[in-house]
């Protein structure tokens, strides 16, 4: 990634956030919400690569890293999708429109999107792992001509936890785009796929990935797979991809180690000789193979 930004001097303190106003909050599923944060004057422009994250601060409560789901330049605002899991996210969920939230970033390397140009993109996400990938999907639709096909494979625990429902409907209608959803266990009122998301990359499964299994072999070679989800999930996906000898440098994953500072100083996200917040969170499968299994 080209980082042409000048190295900041000591007096530019990277730990200090700026505060943006929450302009809109939309319920997504019963544990997740969307938050639109308006950027204050002087911070309107964000150089951002899909996959990067921001540190959000609730004064008096704490700071957490959250992947950026989208940056809307017209509205000068950032979109964060946040699940209610801990103390800070719980507090953010209680916030109302008009309140202020601290933001610093973007941090991390992001997806090497330049490398994806002219290729098919297969997105595999489990649970709230689709949030960071939304920025990739938005990027894809904005620069449609640069890319080939897009496929979204998504697994949720149950139908109530499915996120981006409406968007997925609209994505499906678009040209060259497919979406497949699966839920973990069969449930009343659900007539779609059931089972874990790794089924969708299994060649024996009835409704498996279009690009990987139902297209010409040349298509498969010209494909990158982006995986975001909990470690248990991406490990099973990698196993499936290994079975079909999918090249390891075309698979990208996002690690979600515990982070505190976001800039590679606090040491929490240290994994081998990498700091996930600075050298990651996006790693290719090839890199991951050389790293210590501490994620």
């Amino acid at each position: 990634m080209e980082k042409n930004k000048k190295a900041p001097s000591i007096n530019q303190n990277p730990y200090i956030p700026f505060f943006g106003k929450l302009t809109d909050i939309i319920d997504e599923s019963h544990v997740t919400k969307r938050f639109f944060v308006e950027l204050p004057k002087g911070h309107e422009k964000v150089d951002f690569i899909p996959g990067q994250f921001f540190q959000l601060t609730v004064p008096g409560v704490g700071e957490i890293p959250i992947s950026l789901s989208d940056y809307i330049p017209e509205k000068k605002s950032l979109l964060f999708c946040i699940a209610n899991t801990g103390i800070v996210t719980n507090k953010i969920h209680q916030m109302k429109v008009g309140e202020f939230i601290g933001v610093r970033g973007p941090y991390g390397n992001g997806f090497p999107i330049e490398k994806f140009k002219g290729k098919n993109i297969v997105i595999v996400a489990g649970g709230i792992g689709l949030f960071p990938l939304r920025s990739v999907i938005e990027y894809y639709f904005r620069n449609k001509n640069d890319f080939n096909k897009l496929e979204v494979l998504y697994g949720a625990r149950n139908p109530r936890e499915i996120i981006f429902r409406e968007e997925m409907k609209s994505w499906r209608l678009k040209k060259d785009t497919t979406c497949k959803i699966t839920i973990d266990k069969p449930e009343k009122g659900w007539d779609g796929n059931t089972g874990f998301v790794c089924n969708l990359v299994d060649k024996n499964y009835s409704d498996s990935s279009e690009i990987l299994f139902h297209c010409a072999a040349s298509e498969r070679e010209n494909t990158v797979v982006l995986v975001v989800g909990p470690p248990v999930m991406f490990n099973s996906i990698l196993k499936k991809l290994e079975e079909i000898n999918f090249p390891d440098d075309s698979v990208y994953l996002s690690l979600e180690n515990h982070m505190k500072c976001g800039i590679g100083k606090c040491g929490h996200c240290n994994c081998g000789s990498k700091y996930v917040c600075q050298d990651g969170p996006i790693f290719s499968w090839k890199e991951l193979k050389t790293m210590e299994k501490e994620y």
Binding site: A7, P8, S9, I10, N11, Q12, N13, P14, Y15, I16, P17, F19, T57, V58, P59, G60, V61, G62, E63, T85, G86, T89, G98, E99, F100, G102, P230, P231, V232, E256, N257, H258, K260, C261, I263, G264, K265, C266, G267, H268, N270, C271, G272, S273, Q278, E292, E294, Y295
Partner: protein
């Protein structure tokens, strides 16, 4: 710049330095231990082995406020950066701790700069002291360091019997000597020999020597060996080693509120030996066992920082061994690693 400082002039030097800065030096505490504390003048101890506690706490504080916030009635939040500009002079730092400060300086720079620590380093003058006597746990020579190393210091001092041999290293240090030139005397030509004498006698007294430099870039190959289990069985994962380590840099960040509208964002030391250190919000823990956490500490010191910055982040001060409540010795671990690495190469 070479000078002499007569021993009886030391207190007048400290008195002079105290005029515009806090002077910190090793003193005897009421618990009969040597610790770096702000001093008045006479009680400074510039002899014996390195202190049990490192001067790290004056550069990287145990807990410090990063910024204060105020929530205004309109809901807007204003932030006031905590900014310390106090000048401090730290005296009597042994070469191992100087190396550690040097490492810290490099670690906290880089793409993002930790302004708190770098600012504090800018405001400090570091006066080193050649180490005349090792402790039982010292192994600095094993890491290629020596008891008279000067890197990291602004001024280096060495005990030469009736006087201290003083050497200005950086501009900052030379300026300090220049400002107090009436206290110092000119040095004789062969004063420099003090350093080599000290080096020889001190190195001879170090009990343990194992060539760790030969292990550079090879420690990683012991990652999957079973030596970790041997030590993690005994290790109680307390973190005393990391908090007393002069190069351990990890910290935790948290917020606290003083009242409804006010509070601060602060950081404290944190340790990788703690279970919750890597715990994900989902409950998954990448380093959930004691074995993995112990390995992380050792690997980080001898392999990961070599990958990142091409240097060990261990200076061989041996404090981790000294404070360990169950007597785990870093040298023993290193010896085991060496064995594993050597066997692997054959």
């Amino acid at each position: 710049m070479r000078k002499r400082l007569q021993k009886q002039k030391l207190s007048s030097l400290i008195k002079k330095l105290k005029e515009d800065a806090t002077v910190i030096a090793p003193v005897m505490t009421d618990k009969n231990e040597v610790d770096f504390l702000p001093v008045n003048s006479e009680e400074v101890i510039l002899s014996g082995a390195r202190s049990l506690y490192s001067p790290k706490k004056y550069i990287f504080k145990q807990s410090e406020s990063m910024y204060d916030y105020t929530i205004q009635d309109s809901g807007k939040v204003t932030v006031k950066e905590s900014c310390e500009n106090e000048k401090q002079i730290i005296m009597g730092i042994r070469p191992c701790d100087l190396h550690a400060i040097e490492y810290m300086k490099e670690f906290y720079s880089g793409k993002y700069k930790d302004s708190y620590i770098l600012r504090r380093l800018e405001n400090s003058v570091l006066i080193g002291l050649a180490c005349t006597e090792p402790s039982t746990n010292c192994f600095c020579t094993s890491l290629g360091n020596s008891p008279v190393d000067t890197d990291g210091s602004d001024i280096m001092m060495a005990d030469a019997g009736s006087f201290y041999f003083v050497k200005g290293i950086t501009e900052k240090g030379k300026k300090l000597i220049e400002n107090n030139k009436d206290i110092f005397e000119d040095s004789q030509e062969d004063d420099e020999r003090v350093l080599s004498d000290i080096k020889e006698s001190c190195e001879k007294a170090i009990l343990e020597k194992i060539d760790v430099t030969a292990l550079k870039n090879k420690v990683g190959s012991a990652y999957n060996s079973d030596i970790w289990k041997k030590y993690s069985d005994i290790c109680v994962n307390c973190g005393a080693c990391t908090f007393n380590c002069p190069t351990c840099t990890c910290f935790d960040v948290a917020d606290t509120s003083r009242s409804k509208n006010e509070g601060c964002h602060y950081r404290t030391w944190d340790t990788c030996q703690n279970f919750a250190f890597t715990l994900h919000a989902s409950g998954h823990n990448p380093r959930s066992t004691s074995e993995e956490r112990l390995r992380q500490r050792v690997m980080h010191k001898y392999q990961y920082t070599v990958d990142q910055m091409d240097q060990f982040s261990c200076t061989g001060c041996g404090r981790c061994t000294q404070v360990c409540p169950v007597g785990i010795s870093m040298i023993a671990i290193l010896k085991d690693i060496k064995e594993v690495v050597d066997n692997g190469e054959e």
